[in-house]
């Protein structure tokens, strides 16, 4: 059978960055084909070339055995290629229907075309189990449904080949499962699905074939049934990696941080953290699991002194902190030996236009080790930065580079090094491995466990359930601003997933 897509010797550079090196890829019709690779391996670039977002410098594309040029998205659509982007390409204050017809309105006036689209949408919903209210506004829909709208958009345009770019990053486990069911239905109906991801578990769960990319090259293609996560991880990174974190059991010590009845209100006047209480003890990692947007961000920001609470008490090492007071700020919290690795390193953790060594002391610039009064001791700062670079294997090892020039994983290590090297009693960590490749993830996880073994208390917030389960000693589940339960990390993923979705198993039974 003619393959749905054949890529031959695709080459693409952005300036000095060689994003795709002579890529060959064959995708069989009616299959789910996974493409895995670390961040920056060139997966997204390759798919963007296929969708006409970028043009390849060299190479050819064959769709259904015919050589085609894809200069823009319009041509890609005409060849039956549809794409579901990682960041949804939806107009938030439009209805589902308006988003679906955008670019395929069927005439200069909306009336008739939109009526037809409504009928077509209903047919698609029935055929593929893709139900969404056509008149709902996108901004009112949960992300899972927004993603469904993206799939509908592609199908409405007659896509036979569907590319999904990191589709599960924003989904709950249950939503991800539903997505996989939809993908299988699409495949069984004869569509071809290309799934780009860095999550090996998804590849194993849903694909028929998998291709592995590393540093711009296509290194291997395997039948999913004939490979394993370990082999894939090795191919992705180019060396052996430990997928599990080695962690010896450890008896936690005394309580170093206790939080009682913490309530946080956002600027809209909505309570986003509700009556949260928990203790953090020496030598333990407490993980907070939850679907993004359920108050975890506000919780960690309040604990770090960035936000103020409307009620509640916090005690750190015996010192009471009133989180509702306006004069609480991050530097005061830091003075209590609480360090914070923010969830979003670009927004809060780093000034990417600064040099590496400047970022290495951000927030600690008043430390007498780095200068006297208003003057900074640049030499001392650079020496400290160089020490951290070596200890954390930050690459390239040059503290005089702009921070923006480091990869995501290395940027994260800069933040981590800065916070950990101040020897805090409590470490608050948000999404430590978001946008970080497997090699660096392994390093960061090991470092966190070492810290725990050294008797520090760590609060870990992550949307990656796997990460929480492999690192934490206790798992607290957060839903809609409240802690809805505590479970040991060995708890079945399905059960945690249900709790994260607000379904209480005991209540349900």
């Amino acid at each position: 059978m003619t393959p749905a897509i054949e890529l031959k010797k695709i080459d693409k550079s952005f300036g000095a960055v060689h994003a795709n090196k002579a890529i060959d890829l064959t995708v069989a019709k009616g299959s789910i084909h996974g493409i895995v690779g670390e961040n920056g391996a060139g997966k997204s670039t390759l798919m963007s070339i296929l969708y006409g977002f970028y043009q390849a410098d060299e190479g050819e594309i064959l769709v259904d055995g015919k050589r085609v040029d894809i200069p823009d998205s319009k041509t890609a659509i005409a060849h039956g290629i549809g794409m579901v982007h990682q960041h949804f390409m939806l107009v938030e204050n439009f209805t589902v229907l308006e988003n679906v017809v955008l670019g395929a309105e069927g005439g200069g006036l909306l009336g008739r075309g939109v009526a037809k689209a409504r009928a077509e949408l209903k047919r698609l919903a029935d055929d593929y189990d893709l139900r969404v209210d056509p008149d709902a506004l996108i901004e009112d829909l949960p992300v899972g449904l927004q993603q469904r709208v993206e799939i509908l958009k592609a199908l409405f345009r007659g896509a036979d080949i569907l590319i999904l770019d990191e589709p599960t990053g924003v989904l709950t486990p249950a939503e991800a499962d539903h997505l996989f069911r939809i993908l299988r239905v699409l495949r069984d109906e004869g569509k071809t699905v290309l799934l780009i991801t860095h999550k090996l578990r998804e590849i194993m769960a849903v694909t028929d074939t998998v291709s592995i990319m590393r540093r711009g090259e296509m290194v291997a293609t395997r039948k999913t049934a004939e490979t394993s996560m370990t082999e894939l991880a090795e191919l992705m990174v180019g060396r052996r990696v430990l997928l599990r974190v080695d962690k010896a059991p450890r008896e936690p010590g005394r309580t170093v941080m206790s939080v009682r009845d913490l309530t946080v209100r956002d600027s809209r006047g909505v309570d986003v953290v509700k009556n949260v209480s928990f203790d953090l003890r020496e030598g333990e990692i407490v993980g907070i699991a939850g679907v993004s947007g359920n108050g975890q961000s506000q919780l960690i920001e309040t604990l770090a002194g960035i936000r103020h609470a409307v009620a509640g008490r916090i005690e750190v090492n015996g010192t009471a902190v009133d989180p509702t007071r306006r004069d609480i700020d991050p530097s005061r919290i830091r003075a209590l030996s609480v360090a914070h690795v923010p969830e979003d390193r670009h927004r809060m953790g780093l000034v990417t236009r600064f040099f590496e060594y400047e970022n290495a002391i951000l927030g600690y610039h008043r430390d007498p080790a780095y200068g006297k009064g208003a003057f900074l001791d640049i030499k001392a700062i650079r020496d400290a930065a160089r020490g951290e670079i070596e200890k954390y294997d930050i690459r390239p090892p040059n503290c005089l580079l702009k921070t923006a020039n480091f990869s995501g994983g290395n940027q994260q290590k800069i933040v981590l090094a800065r916070e950990i090297e101040r020897d805090p009693a409590v470490l608050l960590v948000g999404q430590p491995t978001r946008g970080v490749d497997i090699g660096a993830i392994e390093f960061i996880h090991r470092r966190l466990v070492e810290l725990r073994d050294a008797g520090k208390a760590i609060l870990l917030i992550s949307v990656e359930l796997d990460e929480i389960r492999s690192l934490a000693d206790r798992v607290l589940v957060m839903f809609d601003g409240a802690l809805v339960g505590e479970r040991p990390p060995e708890t079945d993923e399905g059960e945690l997933g249900l709790m994260m979705a607000g379904v209480n198993r005991e209540a349900a039974e």
Binding site: F53, S73, V91, L102, G103, L110
Partner: protein, 322 residues
């Protein structure tokens, strides 16, 4: 009292017209994600071109065409700077305002030697008032007669064009493919791009619409409201129109009411000049003249609720390097 009210409303309509045209003009551009503080400059350029050409050709229509052409040219300049070259839209808008002020004064003096004015237009080179059928005979019917013959009848063509542009704009925005795409590109240009539509071409068409309407607004000033171009005759109307646009949250029908409100304050200021008010007594003219501006500040300071601008407004579209 009623006659007085009719008179004030009548001048409200006349004074609102250029605001409304400029406001709708801004709506097209800003809804597509291109901020335009150069409405003032485009209006001024159009007023000059319309005044000059109408004087030379002796035709109001020729003047209107010239006004629109001049305004489109300035709009395209803004587009070239901010869409094609992704320049800062505010800076480009300011530049166009300065360009228009300087160029109209310079060319006016060079061509006509009347201190920057264009020659006074004869009646036949202006848009004159159109009297509706039976306006005179109905004049004496109470209430309705006054409304019909003074308020609805007896305006020039461009006034009707301005007010008809409101439902037209609404229809374009919400009932046509162009409108759907226009609204989309101002919110999320990446969505438009990935749907296979050219963001650049779409935004260019939007700024051309802006150019056309600003052109009409300028021509109205110099060939309908007045009989010729006077230096700086827009007198900040472009900025008031912008304020009205924000006040109306970028929607056509509220835009009309916002412009009517500003026009009404203006009419009131003219009417009340030099007249003592009950209780307060004599009020300096300047207080009334300042009213529209004070209102603008008060309204924009948050009395209108949150005005959420088009999300992608002010930002040039660059394909993301992923």
């Amino acid at each position: 009292m009623f006659d007085m009210l009719i008179l004030i409303l009548d001048s409200t309509v006349r004074l609102s017209t250029p605001l409304l045209l400029a406001c709708l003009a801004g709506l097209y551009s800003e809804r597509s994600g291109v901020f335009d503080i150069g409405l003032e400059g485009k209006m001024l350029g159009a007023a000059f071109a319309a005044g000059a050409v109408a004087a030379l050709a002796g035709s109001a229509w020729a003047g209107l065409a010239a006004g629109i052409a001049a305004s489109i040219a300035l709009a395209l300049l803004h587009g070239f700077a901010s869409i094609t070259h992704r320049g800062n839209q505010i800076v480009s808008g300011v530049a166009i305002n300065f360009l228009a002020i300087g160029l109209t004064a310079l060319l006016g003096q060079a061509w006509f030697q009347q201190g920057g004015q264009t020659p006074r237009l004869p009646q036949e080179a202006r848009f004159t008032d159109i009297t509706w059928p039976f306006a005179d005979s109905l004049r004496d019917v109470p209430v309705i007669g006054g409304l019909y013959s003074e308020l609805f009848s007896g305006h020039n063509l461009l006034v009707y064009v301005a007010f008809l542009s409101v439902p037209l704009t609404w229809w374009v925005l919400y009932r046509t493919r162009f409108g759907l795409r226009l609204r989309a590109v101002g919110e999320n240009p990446a969505a438009v791009d990935t749907a296979g539509i050219s963001v650049t071409w779409l935004r260019y068409r939007a700024v051309i619409c802006t150019g056309i309407l600003c052109g009409v607004a300028g021509a109205y000033l110099s060939t309908a409201q007045s009989a010729g171009f006077i230096k700086d005759m827009t007198a900040g109307r472009g900025f008031i129109a912008l304020a009205a646009l924000i006040f109306a949250k970028w929607r056509p029908v509220p835009a009309m009411f916002a412009c009517l409100l500003f026009g009404f304050l203006d009419a009131l200021a003219i009417r009340l000049q030099g007249q003592p008010l009950p209780v307060i007594g004599q009020v300096p003219v300047q207080v009334f003249q300042a009213l529209p501006y004070i209102l603008t500040v008060v309204l924009l300071a948050g009395f209108i609720g949150r005005a959420v601008p088009p999300k992608a407004g002010g930002v040039a579209y660059v394909k993301e390097r992923t």
